[in-house]
């Protein structure tokens, strides 16, 4: 299961810069391709593509969204158990651990590198405690 780049691709390279696993390759100004074995279906290529050339694993065209409007994770400190699963799951490595909180000295995850967040929601998907939700500006 993998995303796919269609014929309307003009080889601008925006998706190459976005892809966290290095799955997208292609010469400049030629149609790019996604290596299926490396694609993790984060959808960043589809959201960034100005040509609407990317389809998801089901063949549905992805819609480009202004980067600043991409959803970001929001953490519920009351539910979080500091297990670090979200930090590991983040393909963009943009989550970090806070300083220790005063009471029990457990550190909590937070969005440390906001500009790198892909809005993929993998942290939400993998959080075992359902302590994360995606929020952001609506398109």
């Amino acid at each position: 299961m993998s995303h796919h780049i269609g014929e309307t691709c003009d080889g601008c390279g925006a998706c190459v810069r976005m892809c966290p696993t290095g799955a997208v390759t292609g010469a400049k100004k030629t149609r790019h391709a996604i290596a299926a074995e490396l694609c993790i279906e984060c959808g960043a290529c589809g959201r960034i593509c100005p040509r609407g050339a990317v389809t998801d694993a089901f063949g549905i065209p992805c819609e480009a969204v202004r980067r600043s409007a991409w959803d970001k994770p929001r953490f519920d400190a009351g539910r979080c158990v500091s297990c670090g699963i979200c930090i590991d799951a983040c393909p963009a490595r943009c989550l970090g651990l806070s300083e220790a909180l005063q009471r029990e000295r457990h550190a909590l995850p937070f969005l440390a590198e906001e500009k790198n967040c892909l809005g993929c929601g993998f942290c939400v998907r993998e959080c075992p405690m359902m302590a994360i939700s995606m929020e952001g500006l609506k398109k």
């Binding site: 966290p20 279906e41 220790a100 000295r105 993998e126 075992p128």
Partner: protein, 651 residues
């Protein structure tokens, strides 16, 4: 690609520098799981009989468990396995931190190294693309220093497991460290890595880990976490010692529910037991010759749990752990250091009669950085002290150190020499068995090891289950496979209906009765731990009890299999037989592995918590081996056929 597992392994030949991928069929995982089970099966086939553990013929495996990365809790342990240079037989060790999911996120369940490099190298893997790189600039640097250098080079996503000077110098006590001091320390496998001139493994992966039913896993994890969250107030640290005192004085004891231990772990970590264990007779004192009477609460007050966590800046959670028994501490010497574990505090403390907590914290960090096992290091120091006290070593031998009981400065200096292999440190850096052989003059009587591995800080004279597992395992001298108390805490009878439930209250003397039922219980512990080590689970999670931590349900949800707890436990037994066969093939005579008399109460102690206690190890061991279908006298699995079929247990 399978479900829960990645379905691929990476093979690296350090001699030819060839790197290639291999696939494993689903049937393989169904039979051996991943993690330690995977390693046991593959390495049994790939390490030639009689191979030199520190030679190119040994194969070293870094493996992750099936549940790691699936949303299961407590699934952050990775396993390193190979032929142990310390015992000469099967060797494995595991550690927490964040390295376990990194193996799978690179696309593999395991990475296997064979051969030996001619110059120092490290392996760098980025999402299925692997290469060997020059490590000349890293050789000689400690584990944390090397890890930081590699993280700076490869970015924040890089996860590093490295050896330190101990592994480079091929010390038999060497382990492999990740996350700045989580260390897979036992079995001496750091020396194998050193012999291959493999300084580090660097993994930078962000691939998806496939899961059959993630929502079911989450549902199970939420249920499990409710028990982890349950945290009523508990006594202050110094008062915890007297819980142990009370347990010592009472003629009876209750079957333990691990929920109590969970509360202690969450509040303090394993150091919660620093004083309590001595008081109840669980912790050895003065190289196993002393007792609770030699190390009363007034003396051990300096290492009470509150004193340790007074240094703690924040809790440390391994990957996927909701408990957080670890801690990051600040000491006068180190701005950040992992909180020492119970084993470390006792091995470098009561075992050597050293009550100085600052020295223990600093030695913990120094040993982690050196990549040396704190249990074996402490056991070896205690051995050296006893040799010195009995005139087998003199000041001329010890480079002027006055190795007397409780001499903190001498303990610190000696560990430093062991790390650098200077002077007497070179003699001791390979552990008690090797040192005793070199010293001669009857020094072996002071060497407290099983099959070459120094005994951990749990006394079989208090819980004979520990003594049994120390003596009867393919990996002798290990405390993480079973004990009578573990069986009580695992509460497996709630899942596998034919397993016996222990009496809720019993006279302590019953612990020493080598009944067939105890053999069934001990074998069940081992089977369960073999499943857990194949799943990548942490022992401390299992202490919650099988009705609170859904190990078998998680496995089914992750893989899509529909197997019963009994089927999983039977599989754990088969893994045990694979490890035992490995030892037989490599010339180990299981019946020749013995514990020193002092660890068995031969002669019995005259005072303290375990006075008058003797462990009937031979009878216990025979019954235990019989449970796996092995010969009760020799410990040998049958030559042909399925070993488990001979089991008399209810499996």
């Amino acid at each position: 690609m399978g479900k829960g597992y990645m379905g691929k392994i990476l093979r690296v030949d350090l001699g030819t520098r060839e790197i290639r991928e291999g696939a494993l069929p689903e049937a393989f995982y169904e039979r051996h799981l991943a993690g330690q089970g995977l390693a046991a099966r593959l390495l049994s086939e790939e390490i030639p009989a009689g191979a030199d553990p520190r030679g190119p013929g040994n194969v070293l495996a870094f493996a992750a468990g099936i549940l790691t990365g699936t949303g299961s809790l407590f699934a952050g342990r990775w396993t390193v396995a190979g032929k142990s240079p310390l015992t000469g037989g099967w060797g494995d060790a595991n550690a927490g931190g964040t390295f376990a999911p990194a193996i799978k996120r690179c696309g593999y369940d395991a990475i296997l190294f064979r051969g030996a490099s001619e110059a120092p190298v490290y392996l760098y893997v980025r999402n299925g693309s692997a290469e060997l790189r020059d490590a000349a600039d890293l050789w000689g640097r400690d584990t944390t220093d090397a890890e930081e250098a590699l993280a700076a080079r490869h970015g924040p996503g890089a996860r590093v497991a490295a050896i330190g000077p101990a592994g480079e110098k091929r010390s038999l006590l060497a382990g492999i460290s990740n996350d700045r001091g989580r260390i897979a320390a036992r079995s001496g496998l750091g020396a194998v890595m050193g012999s291959k001139q493999l300084k580090a493994v660097v993994l930078d992966g962000n691939l998806r880990i496939p899961v059959h039913d993630r929502s079911e896993i989450k549902r199970l994890s939420e249920g499990c976490n409710r028990w982890v969250r349950l945290q009523p107030p508990f006594l202050p640290g110094p008062a915890a010692a007297y819980v142990g005192s009370l347990m010592r004085m009472l003629p009876m004891q209750m079957a333990q529910d691990g929920l109590l231990y969970k509360i202690l772990l969450k509040k303090w970590g394993t150091v919660s037991m620093n004083q309590m264990s001595v008081e109840m007779g669980d912790a050895p004192v003065r190289n196993w010759l002393g007792s609770s009477a030699d190390w009363p609460p007034a003396k051990s007050l300096s290492v009470n749990p509150d004193a340790v966590i007074a240094r703690e800046q924040r809790k440390y959670h391994c990957y996927s752990c909701p408990l957080g028994c670890g801690g990051i501490c600040r000491t006068a010497r180190f701005a950040e250091t992992h909180k020492p574990e119970y084993e470390t505090v006792l091995a470098l403390g009561a075992l050597c009669m050293n009550g100085d907590l600052d020295s223990i914290c600093d030695l913990n960090e120094r040993l982690n950085r050196a990549g040396m096992d704190t249990i074996s290091a402490g056991g070896t120091v205690a051995f050296a002290i006893e040799c010195y006290e009995n005139g087998l070593l003199t000041k001329a031998d010890t480079d002027g150190l006055d190795l007397t009981w409780g001499n903190t400065a001498a303990v610190v200096a000696l560990v430093g020499k062991m790390i650098s292999r200077e002077g007497i440190g070179d003699l001791l850096a390979d552990g008690t068995r090797a040192a005793a052989a070199r010293i001669g003059k009857g020094a072996e009587q002071f060497a407290v090891h099983a099959g070459g591995q120094e005994l951990p800080m749990h006394d079989g004279r208090n819980d004979p289950g520990y003594a049994l597992h120390y003596a009867a395992e393919p990996t002798p001298g290990r405390h993480t496979l079973g004990s009578q108390m573990y069986y009580e805490m695992f509460q497996l009878w709630r899942k596998a209906k034919d397993l016996p439930s222990p009496a809720p209250l019993y006279f302590k003397g019953r612990k020493y009765d080598p009944s067939p039922e105890k053999a069934v219980m001990a074998a069940a512990c081992t089977r369960y731990m073999n499943v857990a080590n194949g799943a990548g689970l942490c022992l401390f999670g299992l202490f919650l009890g099988a009705h609170r931590i859904p190990v078998f349900d998680w496995l089914n949800a992750a893989t899509g299999w529909q197997r019963s707890p009994e089927e999983y436990l039977a599989l754990g037994g088969e893994i045990q037989t694979i490890k035992q066969r490995f030892n037989i093939a490599h010339g180990i005579d299981p019946a020749s592995v013995s514990l020193p008399g002092r660890a068995l109460g031969r002669p019995p102690q005259q005072e303290g918590a375990n006075r008058g206690r003797t462990v009937e190890i031979e009878e216990m061991r025979g019954g235990y081996w019989r449970e796996f279908g092995w010969d009760p006298q020799t410990g040998r699995p049958p030559e042909t056929g399925k070993a488990e079929s001979g089991s008399s247990s209810a499996m």
